[in-house]
């Protein structure tokens, strides 16, 4: 798999349910970031977790990082229709001048 691969590719849930998205990566990282993209729009930064952190919260978002497994997960609790978007994980490589994005998970939250 490529650096920063999310699964599932698509996820459809009911409003109020939790949504979990996973990301795997291949090389060592300094941090891992999650972004959101509404259809046809720019990406919006959600949360950054450093390699020495295991879990981080921001509002309804919870991100975990397991560097031994080279994986991360993004949990959105109590989802809303407005959470419908694509979610991407991103990792900064090398000297930090190159951030690679995964293919993304398309989340659809039904009202």
């Amino acid at each position: 798999s490529q650096q920063g691969e999310e699964d599932p590719q698509a996820l459809s849930i009911q409003e109020g349910e939790n949504a979990t998205m996973n990301c795997s990566y291949k090389t060592s990282i300094n941090n891992l970031q999650w972004y959101r993209q509404n259809s046809g729009r720019g990406l919006v930064h959600l949360i950054l977790i450093r390699s020495n952190e295991r879990e981080k919260h921001s509002g309804r978002l919870r991100v975990t990082l397991d560097t031994s497994k080279k994986s991360s997960s993004l949990l959105i609790t109590a989802s809303r229709a407005a959470d419908t978007a694509s979610y991407f994980c991103a990792t900064a490589l090398g000297g930090g001048f190159k951030t690679i994005f995964g293919a993304g998970t398309r989340l659809f939250v039904k009202a």
């Binding site: 300094n30 990406l43 930064h45 900064a92 001048f97 994005f101 993304g104």
Partner: protein, 115 residues
């Protein structure tokens, strides 16, 4: 709230023509990036720019592409002799710190259609 702005929002061009996509990064940011996203596909890194020079570029960023910061506020991507496969959304991003510590702020993108 400061934001990254991109122009044009949509450009249609004929194959073989040159296009320039413009970006105004957030004013106190030091690092600048271009990404592209072909419809329905992943966001691909093109180039990063710091201290008035390219810091890193991908294999996509060949001699057809160039970047410039001509006046201290604008950051441009030039695509020479466009090809059909250059049709994509092009996103500019900036960050205050290097990527090892900071988040990217993205513009809304420029949609390029090559006919």
């Amino acid at each position: 709230e400061p934001e990254v702005t991109q122009t044009p929002s949509h450009q249609v061009t004929q194959m073989g023509q040159e296009v320039i996509l413009r970006c105004v990064p957030i004013s106190n940011h030091l690092y600048f990036y271009w990404y592209r996203q072909i419809l329905g596909q992943k966001v691909e890194f093109l180039v990063s720019f710091y201290n008035n020079e390219i810091s890193e570029k991908s294999e996509i960023f060949d001699d057809q592409f160039s970047v410039e910061r001509p006046d201290g506020s604008n950051f441009t991507l030039k695509i020479r002799s466009t090809k059909l496969e250059d049709s994509a959304m092009y996103f500019c991003a900036s960050s205050r710190q290097g990527l090892n510590t900071g988040e990217l702020f993205f513009g809304e993108g420029s949609r390029l259609t090559v006919l």
